[in-house]
C-alpha cells in the first residue's frame, strides 16, 4: 500500500474515511487523492447525497396500511380480554 492510494482503494475505504477510523497517514493520502481526482470526489458527493435522497424518496405514505389497522384492532381486542 503506497502513500497515495489508487481510485479503487479510495472507493473501498470512503465510508471508513468519512467516519474517521482510518490511520492519519491513510486519511491524508485519501484527502489528497480526493483533491486531485474528480471521479472519486464525485463518488464521495454521491455517497453523501444518497441518504438525503433516499430519505426524501422513501418518506412513508400518510395512509395507514390496512394490515396495520388490522393488527391494531387485534391488539386492542387482546387488551380488552386482559382487562378484568
Amino acid at each position: 500500500m503506497t502513500f497515495m492510494p489508487s481510485c479503487r482503494d479510495v472507493q473501498i475505504e470512503l465510508t471508513e474515511y468519512t467516519e474517521g477510523v482510518l490511520p492519519m497517514s491513510r486519511r491524508i493520502g485519501i484527502w489528497i487523492h480526493l483533491l486531485l481526482c474528480k471521479a472519486c470526489a464525485g463518488f464521495l458527493r454521491g455517497m453523501r447525497a444518497l441518504p438525503g435522497l433516499a430519505r426524501r424518496a422513501l418518506t412513508p405514505p400518510e395512509a395507514v396500511p390496512e394490515a396495520a389497522t388490522k393488527v391494531l384492532a387485534e391488539v386492542q381486542a387482546a387488551l380488552k380480554q386482559q382487562t378484568p
Binding site: S6, C7, R8, D9, Q11, I12, L14, T15, E16, E19, V21, C37, K38, A39, C40, G42, F43, R45, G46, M47, A49, L50, P51, L53, A54, R55, R56, A57, L58, P60, P61, E62, A63, V64, P65, A67, A68, T69, K70, V71, L72, A73, E74, V75, Q76, A77, A78, L79, K80, Q82, T83
Partner: protein, 205 residues
C-alpha cells in the same frame, strides 16, 4: 356543544390503565410511521405484521414507564424498531456473520485508477435529482434497489443512512463488529449509488 378531544397525555394515562379505546386513539395517528419503520427493516409483510403486533403490545406494557421526556411518536417508533430488530435476530443466518468482499465502481486500470473517468457518475447534478424526488419513479427505483440488497446489508443501510443511528449502536444491536457494519454500509451505498446514478443523470436505471 362539541366535546373536547382528550390530549395525548390523557390518552397515555387512560391507555396505561387498560383502556383499549384510548390506546387505539393514542396509536392510530402514528400507525403508518410505526408500520413503515418496521417494514423498512424486515422487508416483508408477514414479518412486519408480527413485529408490529409485538411492538404495540410492548408499547402498551411500557406505557406506565413512559415519562414524556420525548414525544410519544419518537418513543413508540424506537420500540417498533427494536421489535423489528428482535424479529430479525430470530431469523439471522450464519452467512450474516461473514464480512463482504470490498466493492468499487470501475472500470479501473492495472494500477487501480479509473479507466474511463468521463463515464463515472457526476453528482454535481444532485440538485436535479432533488427535483425528481417526489416522482414515483425514483421511489420505485430506490425501493427496488433496496429490495435487491441482501437482508444483512439493507438493514445496516436503513439504520445508518435512513434512521441516522451511530455505527456502534448498529453493531451492538446486530451483534456485529463496527468494521463489519462499515463494510456492509459501504457496499450498500456503492450498489445503491450505481443503481441510482443513471436515474439521477436522467437515464434509466
Amino acid at each position: 356543544m362539541k366535546e373536547i378531544p382528550p390530549t395525548e397525555a390523557e390518552l397515555i394515562q387512560r391507555a396505561a390503565t387498560g383502556d383499549s379505546d384510548a390506546f387505539g386513539a393514542l396509536v392510530r395517528p402514528h400507525l403508518a410511521l410505526f408500520h413503515n419503520g418496521i417494514n423498512r427493516i424486515l422487508g416483508n409483510d408477514a414479518d412486519t405484521q408480527d413485529a408490529l403486533q409485538d411492538a404495540l403490545m410492548s408499547i402498551h406494557r411500557d406505557l406506565p414507564r413512559f415519562e414524556g421526556r420525548s414525544r410519544f411518536s419518537s418513543w413508540g417508533y424506537k420500540v417498533c424498531l427494536n421489535a423489528a430488530l428482535m424479529m430479525r435476530r430470530s431469523r439471522v443466518r450464519i452467512h450474516d456473520m461473514e464480512r463482504p468482499e470490498p466493492l468499487a465502481l470501475g472500470p479501473f486500470d492495472e494500477r487501480g485508477h479509473h479507466l474511463v473517468p468521463a463515464h463515472l457518475p457526476e453528482w454535481q447534478e444532485e440538485a436535479r435529482a432533488h427535483n425528481l424526488v417526489e416522482r414515483q419513479e425514483l421511489r420505485e427505483c430506490l425501493t427496488r434497489a433496496l429490495d435487491e440488497l441482501p437482508d444483512s446489508h439493507r438493514i445496516v443501510f436503513v439504520l445508518k443512512d435512513l434512521e441516522d443511528w451511530e455505527t456502534e449502536d448498529i453493531a451492538r444491536h446486530l451483534q456485529l463488529t463496527p468494521g463489519t457494519v462499515r463494510q456492509r454500509l459501504h457496499r450498500s451505498r456503492t450498489v445503491l449509488q450505481a443503481r441510482l446514478r443513471t436515474f439521477v443523470l436522467g437515464g434509466r436505471p
